[in-house]
Amino acid sequence: MDSSLSKLISDGATVLTPTQRLSRHIRYQFATDQIAQGKQAWQTPDCLPWTAWCKRSFELLSFRTEENRILLNNLQQQWLWQEIISHSKYKNQLLQITATAKQAAQAYQLSKEWCVPIFPKETYLSEDAFAFKSWADLYEKQKLDNHRLDDASLPDYIATHINELKPSLNTIVFYDFDQLTTQQFNFKQALIDAGIQVEEINVADRNQSSSVSKQTDKQAEILAAACWAKQHLEKDQNATIGIIAPNLSAIREKIEYGFASVLTPQKWFEPNESIRKPYSISLGKPLSTYPLIHTALNLLSLGKRKVSINTLSALLHSPFINGATEEEAARAKFDAALRRIGEQQLSLKTLYWIAEMRCKEHEQCEAFIQLLKTFEISFLSHAKKQTLRLWTTTFSEWLSGFGWPGKRSLNSDEHQVMTAWQSALTQLGSLDGLTQAISFSTALFQLNRLLTETRFQPETPETPIQILGITGAAGMQFDYLWVMGMQDDNWPALMPANAFIPIACQREFNIPTANADTQLGLAKLVTEKLMMSAKEVVFSYASQEGDRLCRSSPLIKNIVKEYSNEQHEDYKNKIFESSDIERFVDINAPEIPVGQTANGGSSLFKDQSGCPFKAFARHRLHAESLQQTDIGLSAAERGNLVHRALQYLWQRLKSLENLKYKTELELKEIIHSVVLEAIKLQISQQPETFADRFTELEQQRLEQLLKQWLLIERERGDFKVIATEEWKTILFEDIELHLRVDRVDELADGRCVIIDYKTGPVSKNDWESNNPNDPQLPLYAVTNSQQVAAIAFASLKRGKLGFVGQADSDDILPKVKSDADLLWQEKLDNWEQILIKLANDFRQGIATVEPTRTACRYCDLHSLCRIHERIENLDEDRDEEVLFDV
């Protein structure tokens, strides 16, 4: 470490730094030096960032002045701005008040730092400046009226009390400030005027070599830096290595990943906490993204009227609440059951109902439901409004009610997250002085926001490799330094000026962001200092970003030496190269022994016909995936409703004769009541979707549909309905099938017609070929004991009403023709042969992957049958093609 600095520190000087990181760095370096000198103990250097020092001075002053000022914390300042803006006439002009409040606070801070009065008389005020001025005036007034201070004006306040402070002050060192703000400059002057010794020290040049490294893209750049760091660390075990990325926050995850892959490749096999990482990243992620906190917020969101299925599912799988291990399987199954209901959002009430009424035993997770119930009781009986401080207590209580953070013991990172969580709660409580009693949702919103805005990074012991943003790097010294992201569009970076201060004003008072030259100057300075701060420095850039080509920054154009790295040897690649694959044909599952009956529903034949593998997977492996939910009714649910309504309708009407006998009014009444009944049943299954208005609309829709449908039925010859939605068990080729036949009509001649209701598209080709698309009706036809005269789909799609089917003769159903080439009995025989073949294939366990042209489209087994590695292109026979692709 710099000897003059070291001397000043030993003499008890206070060292001020621009960043927290630098203070820590200096303290650590000082300690290392002391240890190197063989010392066991020493006086801790008084070294701290400028802002922290201001705060400390304020505290020292609290008993030394008569002014009992209150220094607002960040959150409080933010809150004040928000309040002011949301009560101003501009409130409706803003997309988001909180974001604007932040920018206003920044503008205010800038105005203080650069001593800009708001605003000088002759300045032209744009609408933006004008609005800001009106807020700032109010803000200052509030501060004044309530004896409050904020960070922006703190240095000014301290400057005026320098004499009270003087007894506790020693020499003050400004260490490596690239550019003092006007406020800091004035402050320094005040110190000197008060007779306090002030020193300025800048980093010394230790550069021995600089080079440039061109990388193909960001990814490669990160890997190169990581490999380089690794090499240096292994060579020189006491080295300090810096990695600097100007846009660290944007690529934090990528960096973390890249460095972990290179430096701690064992991470793939060892749990996270057992690995000591040689690197650390000095940039946090939002606290709310940490799993523990995320879960807490999810839990608290149960207080909302409805909860999304995704949130519930996350909680059901969360390791952070009670019963996670004990009920693991049950909770997973309950999740699947919830999704089957088809609602995207649920109230807790519905959830209990599902748990009780719609779940089989193995899907029930009582402990989980109990947790919810306990929470709900407490929630409902709780005061509707209270202060934030009380809310934080309540939140904590509720969370512990869920057993949060869970039975699994916390690791060190999680431990720190919990501490950060508590300090966030404390902060939130500090708003009490400024707020009234507020509602649950407001309190939760505030908590949410605070947790999103708080960046947090678990502390690690000092590491040899430090990854920093460019501002965080100020003044740091390393043995080796790698600076990434040196593209010309990144560096020099032109920061946009704050829009609340008139640009002319900003230029007059030298705010750097208002001036391209100043910004360039600063960037050059920073580049130079980076170069000075280590023995060996590498600047790197990526020559391509997405589809854009990039050039290196002009600020490093004078460096001629090039650094070229070795390729990182990726472990994944190594595994890939070790590959040793065998291929085998596995298309025969165990057959069903003769004499043993198999079970199945009506979809068995359809599946077998569409693709043997599908039938095997569905009906013998019971392969099912989770259902996707959407708003409103799915096609299947719409179908069910229509089925049900028609069932009730024909249970009432019984025959065509009866239908014709009814008056229009009677018919209307019947339709109304059967639809009502059908919907009632569906409501009980999907209570959320069937809210009042939607129920009304469905009633209307179905009544209309039924009315139109009856017109078609009237065109038929006499019939009696002898079965509606009847469950039958039939044995076909030793397969026991449980089937539900939508409807069977008996004609005047005693033969019957079997009808299948369809609300989707239908085609009579569905029964053609050896692999019929929909063999259900043929199956009914060949297994029916009574003679069958026709089978038909009743197409119930709005605008496409009618019968589609095949009949013995043309007069049986309107527009349904008999086959010109084949006799009806031949037809039936054909079908029987096809069905027997399908049945036998199924029994034999044939599981070849052999889909018909359309089978894969609505099949969710792609990953299990591995169809994509079996054929080149599945899209092949899609007739419909997209409009165009880009």
């Binding site: 991470k267 002085g433 080509l549 026979d877």
Partner: protein, 1133 residues
């Protein structure tokens, strides 16, 4: 050379700085070069570079332009040093301009080469963003929200919220209900329709208001009809009017009985040739029906269906019938001679009625209301997330620029004065972007030195689906102005890219393909001729390869042959295969692979259908959702585990109610498996257990990737490119991480479906495969266009369609039509507008073809199939009208006819899909390679200064106690420094307010404040009145320190300590004293104090140790309890 550049004059003119231009620059005309020249020219004149803004549409284009400008400046700089000059004319001019610009830079000290960010070469989106950023209030945004590239999830949310308003009981619920019913209560579909509309809301937002005037819109319909009727009337020859009247009445009479609905029947009441009033429309329809066939061509014969029954009945009647028919045919022959008559007559049939039905009108209004709600909901969603899409930002930017009546004073609101605006690819401008340009320049006046420069090629406008509106280019070009700015319209014609033959072929073909006239309503662009710069002639560089019937296999075979041949003849050249749609490559890619022709496919192959990604998805799903049995079984069958179907069956059979994991854990079940299958299963199980223990401790990416690696996932991939694809998948997981997990599976699946496989790592760029859209702006030596015979899918139809027409009085007529009712097929107004839209699309398709064919420098290969028909022994072929071949048909028809097959045999290929039944898996004895070694490093001295934190239940009472402690500490420090002389009991009492303030500062709430203050005061007064306290505070001691910070090494760890007070007393004892503000009620104070001593002993010993290291001897440790006036001391050992 310059004598070859025939349009040199226009090119020179376009550099005039004070003047504004719109320039049409066809493919290959080097328009970017021109733009750069102008930019340099302007640069040499302005006061700061920020005064020039050059706008492009993609970041790539902006970056390219920047690098070309910087290169030019650089070259000028270097050449000035080397005194070298470029040789081509174009480069010479650029060089001169750059030299001048450089001089300006030096004069003004801009340092552009060091600070290239000062060049404002931006996308139009970033221009909008910079405007709104600079005008937060005027843009009605406040602080700039984050701009989203893809706002799809937000549209979705807004659509869902909109539909939820159905139940809100607000005024608009009725409107939503009406619309929902109109579409058969199909909420998922309506949701998607709303999303489609939100995606392009800049187009309709201004047309949507509450309660449109029905009358206005019906008037607009009337005008629309009458305009058309006027045209027919004008075209219809007077001399044949009477004859027609006579004949049509004859026909009407015949039809009236049998077919009253036939339009001809309605002409029975016609007494003269109708006028052009809208209520005469049905007459005109009758006439059109009489003369033209359904497809709009002249009739060839007249039958009973058209009112001309065969000659029968009595003689008189029969004669009349024969003669009328003859007469009719004669009239038809005459009429055919009139140019344009057929066309205008044909258009009449599609005309909409002049009135809305009541129910239609109800839906128009309901829809407008619904769309307004949707837009409002979208803004709420934006607000909630503080994010916005480009459309929103653009609209806000326009907003910020003020209204036409009260424009914003830009000069005062922005950091720099905009003096020159250059827009590249102007044909891709959207309505809202056009408005932005209008507003930006609204304040400009003639000759104030400012300039607008618009350049583009309307013939290459192919971004309609991204709201590009080529009609705006046409309008600007024809009006020769944009808003108030007069523009000079110039046309470039020289093509620097392609050889002469090609240019001529393109000229010839597209002259026929493109419409003759520009048209604003249908966005029709007429053709503009090009002249080749490269006169080197080579024949035969356009080749056509006809196919008949859906012969995709044959076509791909011939494509492969072409590629091979080019490669053989010109091994150095590059080749591009361009298609309209990815699915057109279905046969081609396998064919190329089979022949081992390596190619780079850019964004062509979907990632979601790669089996490696399918495996990873299954792994992810299995981990996240243990009840997803398909995923679990897929994982067990995937090559890393490789269980046989038999094993899966043994595990699953009869266990429907268990999760797969439960089955795996069932020892009895597992024991039924074959031994090596058991081993495979066990391996998977162990790995899963390991990873599951760490659930939500790692990011989801790390979790799944670790799992995959442990299973040997990379070893199951078939090539190295796949490894790349997997990395893409993992990055996606990373970006969707919510709290260490993925909550929304659908989001993951949607995102995966939008990813494309990485281009083949092994292939060089010599053969490339991409979509035509992607190829825009690129050039290749050879271009192959397969699949020209294929048609695109018809578009789905929009929720609301509209038609804007300019009236004669310059007002605009607006007609709206709602989507067709579900299941109801009557929607004439909607159909009419839709047809206009189809015409637009058809023109755009032709332009797409133009873009595709102009990408080539040397040769062009066209492949496509036509359909063949056999009729009366005559074979004919035709292209599907909506295919690109359909557009090209006039040019290629003869070629197709020449090669026509002799008969329509089975040209249709029923391609048998070959399905490989093999399954692959890692071999039994495969082992992971040795894990790479961890980095070797020495851990530096551990910084133990961060104290071990103990987690305690959160509660506020503890907080207050803590705060009292800190205030007391602070005050004691002050007393120790300032002395007890000042800090008397009275003084302490008088300081209550300070204490209150300090407590408040720390966060002690109002209601606890007075108690807390009391405790502070109590503690301090206790201390100064206590003998022990006085001794501690005494200034008599030497080496006094308060809040003394020391560090040192304890147990090899760096430790920090802050000592409340230390001093050396007269006896030479070094005291280390800590204050404790503990409270104690009740008896047994001594016991309590002993307890406290025990509790803090270790801590103080640590202090003692450090002090000893600092050289102190004879150390004593003490705890002082001011609230209790208690004291404990002991010797440091």
């Amino acid at each position: 050379m310059s004598k070859f550049i025939v349009d040199i004059e226009a090119r020179t003119k376009a550099l005039a700085p004070g003047q504004s231009f719109i320039i049409q620059a066809p493919a290959g005309s080097g328009k970017t070069g021109l733009l750069i020249q102008r930019y340099l020219r302007l640069l040499s004149l302005v006061d700061s570079p920020e005064e020039i803004i050059a706008v492009t549409f993609t970041r790539k284009a902006a970056a390219e332009m920047q690098s070309r400008i910087l290169d030019a400046l650089n070259m000028a700089n270097n050449n000035a040093l080397n005194k070298k000059e470029p040789d081509s004319d174009h480069d010479k001019i650029t060089f001169e301009l750059a030299t001048a610009a450089l001089k300006r830079d030096q004069e003004k000290g801009w340092q552009i080469s060091d600070n290239p960010g000062r060049l404002r070469l931006q996308t139009i989106d970033s221009l909008c963003a910079s405007l709104t950023r600079q005008m937060p209030m005027l843009s009605k945004l406040g602080t700039q929200p984050e701009t989203l590239e893809d706002a799809e999830p937000l549209y979705q949310q807004a659509a869902i919220n909109t539909l939820a308003e159905l139940e809100s009981g607000e005024g608009w619920s009725d409107a939503i209900a009406n619309l929902v019913f109109h579409l058969d209560n199909d909420l998922p579909r309506i949701k998607n329709l709303i999303i489609d509309m939100l995606r392009k809301r800049d187009q309709w937002l201004s047309h949507v208001v509450l309660e449109h005037e029905r009358d206005d819109m019906e008037q607009a319909l009337v005008r629309l009809i009458e305009d058309q009727l006027k045209m027919v009337k004008k075209k219809f020859p007077n001399e044949f009017k009477n004859e027609l009247l006579e004949l049509i009445q004859f026909a009407a009479k015949n039809l009236n009985e049998t077919e009253p609905d036939n339009p001809i029947s309605s002409c029975l009441s016609m007494t003269s040739i109708p006028d052009s009033k809208a209520d005469a429309l049905h007459y005109w329809c009758g006439i059109s029906e009489l003369l033209l066939t359904k497809t709009g061509t002249w009739r060839k014969q007249f039958t009973v269906k058209n009112g001309f029954p065969p000659a029968s009945g009595n003689k008189l009647e029969a004669d009349e019938r024969t003669s009328k028919k003859k007469q009719m045919l004669a009239l038809l022959t005459e009429l055919q001679k009139f140019d344009g008559l057929q066309n205008t007559l044909a258009k009449i049939n599609g005309l909409p009625p002049a009135k809305y039905t009541d129910s239609e009108w109800l839906i128009v209004n309901a829809l407008c209301e619904l769309l307004m709600i949707a837009a409002g909901q979208l803004r709420l969603v934006f607000a909630e997330r503080n994010q916005m899409d480009f459309i929103g930002i653009a609209a806000s930017a326009v907003e910020a620029l003020g209204t036409d009546d009260a424009p914003t004073e830009l000069a005062l609101n922005m950091d720099y004065h905009i003096k020159h605006l250059l827009v590249d690819e102007y044909q891709d401008i959207s309505v809202s972007q056009y408005r932005l340009l209008q507003r930006l320049t609204s304040e400009w006046s003639m000759d104030d030195g400012r300039s607008l420069f618009l350049v583009g090629d309307p013939m290459q406008s192919i971004y309609r689906f991204r709201q590009a509106e080529v009609a705006l280019f046409i309008k600007t070009f024809h009006d020769k102005s944009l808003g108030n700015i007069p523009l000079e319209a110039l046309r470039l014609s020289v093509n620097f890219r392609s050889q002469q033959n090609l240019v001529e072929w393109v000229n010839e073909s597209f002259r026929a393909i493109f419409p003759k006239q520009d048209d604003l309503i249908t966005s029709a662009v007429s053709y503009s001729e090009a002249v080749a710069f490269d006169k080197s002639a080579s024949n035969n560089n356009v080749k056509i390869y006809p196919q008949y019937g859906r012969a995709h296999k044959k076509e791909s075979q011939s494509l492969v042959d072409i590629v091979k041949q080019i490669k053989q003849e010109n091994p150095e050249d590059n080749i591009a295969i361009l298609v309209r749609s990815r699915s057109h490559l279905a046969e081609i890619i396998p064919a190329l692979r089979k022949e081992e022709l390596g190619f780079k496919a850019i964004d062509i192959e979907g990632l979601s259908t790669q089996s490696s990604i399918q495996d990873l998805l299954a792994l992810t799903r299995a981990f996240l959702f243990p009840a997803d049995r398909v995923a679990w079984l897929a994982c067990l069958r995937a090559p890393w585990c490789g269980l046989s179907l038999e094993s899966l069956f043994l595990l699953c059979d009869k266990n429907k109610d268990k999760t797969a994991w439960e089955c795996i854990c069932d020892i009895d079940l597992v024991s039924k498996l074959k031994e090596d299958e058991q081993a495979r299963l066990k391996n998977f199980k162990t790995k899963y257990e390991n990873i599951f223990l760490q659930k939500q401790r790692l990011s989801i990416r790390d979790t799944i990737e670790s799992f995959w690696i442990q299973l040997g996932g990379p070893a199951t991939l078939s090539n190295k490119t796949d490894l790349e694809n997997c990395a893409t998948y993992f990055s996606l997981l990373e970006s969707l991480d919510h709290g260490g997990t993925i909550e929304d599976l659908k989001e993951l699946l949607d995102n995966v479906s939008q990813l494309y496989a990485a281009p083949d790592l092994k292939a060089d760029g010599q053969l490339q495969v991409m979509t035509i859209h992607k190829a825009k702006g690129l050039e290749f030596d050879h271009v192959i266009l397969p699949g020209l015979g294929r048609s695109p899918r018809a578009s789905q139809g929009d929720l609301l369609v509209w038609l804007l027409r300019q009236r004669e009085d310059q007002q605009e007529d607006l007609v709206l039509a709602p989507i067709r009712e579900a299941g109801n097929f009557q929607a004439p107004i909607y159909d009419y507008i839709n047809n206009t839209d189809k015409a637009k699309q058809s023109y755009e398709d032709a332009r797409l073809l133009y873009v595709a064919t102009t990408r080539t420098k040397k040769t062009l290969h066209l492949l496509g199939h036509a359909s063949v028909k056999e009729k009366k022994d005559e074979i004919s072929c035709d292209a599907q009208s909506r295919s690109l071949l359909g557009h090209l048909w006039p040019t290629v028809k003869t070629v197709y006819e020449q090669h026509m097959p002799a008969s329509v045999e089975q040209n249709e290929e029923h391609s048998l899909i070959v399905i490989n039944q093999e399954t692959k898996r890692l071999k039994k004895d495969w082992k992971l390679p040795i894990t790479p070694a961890a980095t070797q490093w020495q851990q530096p001295t551990e910084d133990g200064s961060e104290e071990e934190r103990v987690l305690i239940e959160f509660e506020w009472a503890g907080e207050t106690t803590k705060h009292i402690g800190s205030v007391v500490h602070g005050a004691i420090q002050c007393i120790a420094e300032e002395g007890t002389e000042k800090w008397t009991t009275d003084y302490i009492n008088s300081e209550e307010e300070s204490f209150a303030a300090a407590l408040k500062q720390l966060g002690v709430p109002e209601n606890e404040s007075s108690d807390a203050v009391k405790r502070v005061v109590h503690a301090l007064i206790n201390m100064i009145n206590d003998e022990r306290g006085q001794w501690i505070l005494s200034k008599e001691h030497s080496k006094q320190q308060n809040e003394y910070a020391i560090s040192g090494i304890i147990d090899n760890k760096l430790s920090n300590a802050i000592l409340d007070r230390t001093f050396v007393d007269k006896e030479g004892v070094c005291w280390i004293i800590d204050y404790k503000t503990s409270r104690h009620e009740g008896s047994n104070l001594e016991v309590f104090l002993n307890h406290e001593q025990e509790r803090y002993q270790e801590q103080l010993e640590k202090y003692g140790f450090l002090m000893k290291q600092l050289g102190e001897e004879n150390i004593k440790l003490g705890l002082y309890f001011p609230l209790l006036q208690g004291w404990r001391e002991w010797d440091y050992q």
